[in-house]
């Protein structure tokens, strides 16, 4: 420890850490500041120039947000993102909880093999599924519709949610299930009165992961909703603005911030569950 202090004094340590933290934050700060600046300022001066007179409030405006929300479709896209994400989070978690319970606490032939198949499907790249599903969707008129993308996201989310909830539910004490059986509880009663309430922490993590995953998804939306403006979620709308308004940074930054606002809110308000959920979900393919 003494040697460490000689080679690497505390002040250097603090400087390095704070330096890294600044590098990590600056790009996002730049985005946020720019989204509140006047278009003519954004085009001609760097965002850091606001800090030479930070309390001159005439240099800030909410106009960019108004423009992207009303004129560039970000308001509609925000609502679309909600319409897509809420069912695409609720259904996979519910269905996965049912299956995880059966895999963990019921005996049936092929149980282990089937569960292995589910785990193996975790890492199938989604690219493997796009063309055949798109053909089915076109045939059933499901492409460009909310039910279509709900089905896709629900299915894609299942391997991970089954796997994570199984890990948790299988770890519940056996005695609980034995006494429920002695009391004459049916499997449904056991599921809703015992398994679900006891699994709340695991379910919270999985819900947050699936929610953030779907909210931030670009690829799946591009495949199944691409080209249908009226149902486009935020990610799709921002990506298309990058293409069409590539130099209007005051609009792009405001639009990007609109798309990031809800995940950031969840991050700051539910940080512990958020981190746990992201870590748990990292095995997703």
């Amino acid at each position: 420890m003494k040697l460490l202090k000689r080679i690497f004094p505390r002040t250097t340590l603090h400087a390095v850490i704070i330096g890294i933290a600044l590098i990590w934050m600056l790009p996002t700060v730049g985005l946020l500041v720019t989204s509140f600046r006047l278009p003519q300022d954004v085009a001609h001066t760097g965002w850091w120039t606001v800090f030479s007179h930070p309390f001159n409030f005439t240099q800030y405006t909410l106009q960019n947000y108004e423009t992207v929300i009303t004129k560039n479709g970000m308001g509609r896209a925000f609502i679309n993102s909600l319409i897509i994400t809420v069912p695409a989070t609720f259904f996979p978690v519910l269905l996965a909880a049912f299956a995880a319970y059966a895999f963990a606490w019921m005996k049936f032939p092929g149980r282990k093999t089937l569960f292995m198949v589910v785990v193996a499907l975790l890492v199938i790249p989604l690219q493997m599924t796009f063309i055949p599903i798109l053909r089915i969707f076109n045939w059933l008129h499901l492409s460009g519709t909310f039910p279509g993308i709900w089905l896709a996201h629900t299915s894609y989310g299942l391997p991970l949610t089954v796997y994570l909830l199984h890990n948790f539910i299988a770890g519940l004490p056996r005695d609980l299930f034995d006494s429920a059986a002695i009391d004459g509880a049916s499997t449904m009663q056991t599921f809703f009165r015992l398994v679900i309430p006891l699994s709340v922490p695991a379910i919270a993590s999985v819900v947050i992961f699936q929610f953030i995953w779907v909210w931030n998804d670009l690829l799946v939306a591009l495949i199944y909703l691409g080209g249908f403006r009226s149902v486009a979620p935020l990610t799709l709308q921002v990506a298309s603005l990058v293409g069409s308004r590539g130099q209007d940074w005051e609009l792009l930054t405001a639009a990007a911030f609109v798309s990031m606002a809800l995940p950031l809110f969840i991050f700051f308000s539910l940080q512990r569950y958020f981190v746990r959920g992201i870590l748990a979900g990292s095995v997703k393919g």
Binding site: L4, V16, A99, V119, I131, A170, T187, N216, P263, F274
Partner: protein, 289 residues
């Protein structure tokens, strides 16, 4: 538990149905149509695979993905590890960790916009609006077109966006593992005369190896499929193409389902080793239950 033979199947039926329809069947079908022409009508043998491995843009996509795997994985894991060890020594550890983890909440599209702005270019003489070129010109350099200077500068600029997003993730996992190492082990090494450098390489690294392996596997799986960052920032132009973006173009822009399927299969084959590692890990967990 009171169950009849049918009960378990009722619980797993919806999941099995959806997985079969949306993952299993399409995978098999994709394999089949990878041997057929653009509209899946005429059998073409291995022609699509030959295309996938010889087309110049595909070759450069593979090269770029390889660059992503090497640079992205070593930096996220290495940087995450260094941060985990350094932050353990300061009192304000938590707040810095949250700051570095924040990018994980942002979509890749959002991150793409953030960094495209950092990399923004204005010709020499004009005031720079991108942070990076402002720094370069302030130091007396000429502004650089970060995203169009091929092939190293722009690819590394894209990879850095990935590193910015995922370092926090690696840091959090490695930090948890680091805090699990008994302090006495490090103290004992120090008492035996080891300096901090030796403690890091001879005590910390060997003990963290299993965790590092897990994190690195996760990073490789992610990076083989990297798509959003490239799609938003360059769309694969200026020699920045990657395999997943190329597959998207083959499918949507050119409707060549044969090419697109073959590329998807190649992606799968690259990921299979990771899948085997995952299953093995799961088996070990199951064995200890």
């Amino acid at each position: 538990m009171r169950t009849n033979r049918l009960t378990p199947w009722l619980y797993i039926a919806p999941v099995l149905f959806l997985l079969g329809l949306f993952l299993l069947y399409p995978s098999i079908e994709t394999f089949r149509i990878s041997f057929f022409g653009p509209s899946s009508k005429d059998f073409v043998g291995f022609a699509n695979y030959i295309y996938a491995f010889t087309n110049p843009v595909m070759v450069s996509a593979f090269r770029n993905n390889a660059l992503w795997v090497v640079v992205f994985t070593s930096f996220t894991v290495g940087f995450g590890l260094i941060l985990a060890v350094l932050l353990d020594r300061v009192k304000y550890e938590k707040i810095i960790k949250s700051l570095i983890f924040i990018p994980m909440a942002i979509s890749f599209v959002g991150a793409g916009v953030i960094w495209k702005f950092v990399y923004a270019y204005r010709p020499p003489g004009a005031p720079q609006i991108g942070l990076l070129n402002e720094i370069v010109t302030a130091l007396g350099g000429k502004p650089i077109g970060w995203l169009i200077t091929r092939p190293w500068v722009n690819n590394l600029c894209l990879i850095f966006v990935g590193i910015w997003i995922w370092t926090g993730f690696c840091m959090v996992i490695l930090s948890a593992a680091y805090k699990n190492i008994p302090r006495e082990l490090m103290e004992a090494a120090r008492i035996d005369g080891a300096n901090e450098w030796q403690v890091f390489w001879r005590v910390i690294i060997p003990l963290l190896k299993p965790t590092v392996a897990v994190v690195a596997t996760t990073m490789v799986v992610f990076v083989l499929k990297v798509f959003d960052i490239v799609y938003v920032m360059t769309n694969g132009n200026y020699s920045t193409e990657v395999v997943a973006n190329r597959m998207y173009k083959e499918m949507f822009a050119w409707s060549n389902y044969g090419h697109a399927s073959a590329i998807a299969i190649v992606l799968l084959i690259l990921i299979i080793p990771m899948m085997i590692i995952n299953i093995r890990r799961f088996r070990e967990q199951e064995a200890t239950r």
